[in-house]
């Protein structure tokens, strides 16, 4: 039974990363109509920024949670202003190819300087150790990752679904020309949205650093699963991405317990099944 709970916790933690990353992808796809293949590389950059802050500047984890998303978000905004904005109105394929190219370049540069092996990032002192819950042992850092991710996901959902700024974003997703004609600077909003989506990826990268180590290919390993999560949840759906992210993490964890051989493929099998039954994803709407 202990092993089942342990796998459930691993599933929840993976689900936290899936949710944060797919949420960013959903926000970006909804607003920019771009399938952001660079997301994994930007997640990796978040972890590296935290690593540099700690090892070069002596800046701790808590500050990294704030600084890394801002730094990577600004990098993302520069990418959007200099490259992605020119793809407006073009087929999805162009965005996919461009962001895939960006991902390869970013990962290649980091691999060139840091190799492929992981570099350790220590768990902050306040989150070391664990708690015995009676039925299982809970490492505090892992519990923190799940709760913090959930809070960030809900806050992002609230921002987009329940605020004036979110109404602008949703309206601009439907008809950017009209929203701009109402006096709203839509190009600037698109840039900021890309920065927000990318910042969420970087935040996931910082959270992941103490668990998975800091590696140039840490994003590449994760991004394919995250895309499956987004497809299952429904492209562009915020709540769909959050729920599907956590749920698939748990399903993956349970599969590891009951039938480990299928644990790496279960997400993709589910994706195929969902696409067969509901091609727009569980909560997505037809284009």
């Amino acid at each position: 039974m202990q092993a089942l709970y342990a796998q459930l916790l691993v599933g929840l933690i993976n689900g936290s990363f899936y949710a944060l990353l797919s949420l960013g992808l959903a926000v970006i796809f909804g607003m920019l109509n771009i399938i952001n293949f660079a997301h994994g590389a930007l997640y990796m950059m978040g972890a590296f920024v935290a690593y540099f802050l700690l090892n070069l500047g002596g800046i701790n984890y808590w500050w990294a949670l704030l600084i890394a998303p801002v730094v990577v978000g600004v990098f993302g905004m520069i990418l959007e202003r200099t490259m992605l904005q020119w793809l407006t109105g073009l087929d999805h394929l162009y965005g996919l190819l461009l962001t895939f190219g960006i991902a390869l370049i970013v990962q290649g540069v980091f691999q060139n300087y840091f190799g492929s092996s992981g570099m350790p990032y220590a768990i902050p002192d306040q989150l070391k150790g664990g708690m015995n819950l009676g039925f299982m042992f809970l490492p505090i850092y892992r519990g923190w990752v799940v709760i913090f991710s959930l809070v960030v996901c809900i806050a992002t959902w609230f921002l987009i679904e329940k605020t004036r700024l979110g109404a602008y974003l949703r309206a601009a997703t439907e008809n950017p020309t009209l929203v701009r004609a109402f006096g709203i600077n839509v190009p600037r909003m698109i840039t900021l949205t890309y920065g927000l989506g990318v910042g969420l990826a970087a935040l996931a990268g910082v959270l992941s650093a103490p668990i998975n180590q800091v590696r140039p290919l840490m994003g590449a390993d994760l991004i394919i699963v995250v895309f499956a999560v987004v497809v299952i949840g429904g492209m562009g759906s915020i709540m769909g991405s959050i729920i599907t992210g956590f749920a698939l993490g748990v399903i993956e964890g349970l599969t590891k317990y009951f039938y480990p051989e299928a644990s790496n493929t279960v997400v993709f099998v589910l994706m195929v099944l969902v696409l067969l039954v509901k091609p727009t994803g569980l909560t997505g709407r037809a284009a």
């Binding site: 949703r170 004609a181 109402f182 006096g183 709203i184």
Partner: protein, 248 residues
Amino acid sequence: MVETVIADAPAKTAAGGNILQVRNLEAWYGESHILHGINFDVNAGEVVTLLGRNGAGKTTTLKSIMGIIGKRTGSVKFNNQDITRTTSDKIARMGIALCPEERGIFSSLDVRENLLLPPVVRPGGLSLEQIFELFPNLKERLNSQGTKLSGGEQQMLAIARILRTGASFLMLDEPTEGLAPVIIQQIGHTIARLKKEGFTILLVEQNFRFASTVADRYYVVEHGKIIDGFSNSELAANMDKLHTYLGV
């Protein structure tokens, strides 16, 4: 209809002063040349109607003034300021508001969010209370999804949301299209009220019977050009010509 006073109607240019000047306006959709040199003026406080058949270039004229056409040349001046190369968000902030032909109600927003979406660009816009006095239906449907409203209610919402912004120059693109006569009458009353309060309105209409109830002057658009223009007092004398122009 409940009579209300729009207490804080927007600050206007001196009555009768020229507020919009369009000269040699040309516009393109991709390779298609749609406007071939449009010239007309709108004076402050007037309701001016662009009449014409489908595809004549009326909507494109409004979009060109608003700056939402890919390529345009010529000159558009608003309050003596050249806005030909100004982006649409800045044009909106100068006090021009567009109510588009397809109404542009956002399906992912409820009525309240649709209503509050356009930012207030200058003081003097209508308050929500004043808007609900003009369009009581909207108050009852505040939490409904925008696109779940009837066609008439959607049109009211589309007009209402630009009245909040403080814009003094309103461009209404076929506000009566596809609506029941009773709703058309209500929209006519609203336009008359707005005119009385000093708003300047540029109206695009195919229904000149409706337009004649509210307009001060008319321009006829054909093949991307203004081919005729007359005032409301000259309407009766020009009726035969108008029938020919509009093919009715």
